[in-house]
Amino acid sequence: MELDHLKNSWNIVSADLTRNEFDIISATKKEMESPLADLKTMSKRQLITLPLLIVFLAVMTATVPDMKNQLLVWMAFIVLPLTTIYYYFNLKLINMLENSEGAVKNDFQRKVKQLISNNNLYLGLTRAAILILVIITELLIQNNNTGLIPGIEIIKSILFPLRLLIYAGTIGVHYVLSRYSFNLYFGRYLKRLKELLADMD
């Protein structure tokens, strides 16, 4: 039995299948279960929750006097907007990945390239932000301008070599977390695209 002999049967069987009824209206009302659907839902949820958290924190800081002197609160004011921006770009990326354009292989190549470049951009920007934060903190400590940022006194009290270790640790933890979150969110999808591209070559 050769593949060519199957052509007639293929057309007959497929024609039989069209007898199945399909309700296009109900189908379009239902959200497509794409490979990134869960991630999309999570990103949307975070984009609602995080700004609410920022507002809540701002109100608390304005009303509770002690909170202004907490280093963690000020750190949250840096981290939370950055995380919100991260999820916003994630959502944009997912929307882009859900659209197909051009020949199948070219589309997969474009998506892999986009995923990798987006991740590199995010890593580069956040690493730069951490480095700037470390340099500013250290400059303030060296110039004894500790009054500018509340709670910086605590960091100053730590020995310089230990501080360096903490900075290195922060950068290390950020690297590990970034890799983990990228693999968690997009890893499976990227792996699948790479596998398909390998099969196409």
Binding site: H5, L6, M32, E98, N99, S100, K105, D107
Partner: protein, 146 residues
């Protein structure tokens, strides 16, 4: 045509319906971007195959049904079923053993698409497609002989 793609990538009625729905929605979403640079059927195949290949629900179910597929090659011959029909069933079962990219090539081949059209849809070069097609035919021969 969409049903043919679904049939190639899904194993049971529910999976076919799910994949059909996903492809329809994807076509619906992508239609505003259709600029008419390629033929409408080429665009349709591109979207349908793209969706089927990246559909994870189908992948999960394939793992569960792979044993059934293997067994389906050994369906005992029944007198009321013609020999030809049994051979067709064997061939369909053998196609299910191919990887997803190979399935898309087989589907387009069964649809009587030329290698140029396949290249336009899949983005795989004409020469690579020919080599792949020969390998697929060899594979199918081996599968159906087992």
């Amino acid at each position: 045509m969409i049903y043919k793609v679904c049939r190639m990538y899904a194993n049971n009625h529910d999976d076919i319906q799910d994949l059909y729905q996903d492809i329809i929605i994807q076509l619906w979403k992508s239609y505003p971007k259709f600029r008419g640079e390629a033929k409408f059927s080429t665009w349709l195949y591109r979207i349908a195959i793209n969706t089927a290949l990246t559909n994870f629900r189908k992948q999960k179910r394939n793992i569960q049904t792979s044993d059934v597929e293997l067994q389906s090659i050994q369906i005992p011959y029944e007198e009321d079923v013609g020999l030809k029909e049994e051979q067709h069933q064997q061939m369909y079962a053998a196609i299910q053993l191919l990887n997803d990219v190979e399935k898309s090539i087989v589907m387009l081949y069964l649809e009587d698409k030329s290698y140029d059209e396949m290249e336009e849809i899949l983005g795989i070069s004409n020469a690579t497609l020919r080599v792949k097609m020969n390998r697929i035919k060899d594979k199918l021969r081996t599968f159906t002989k087992k």
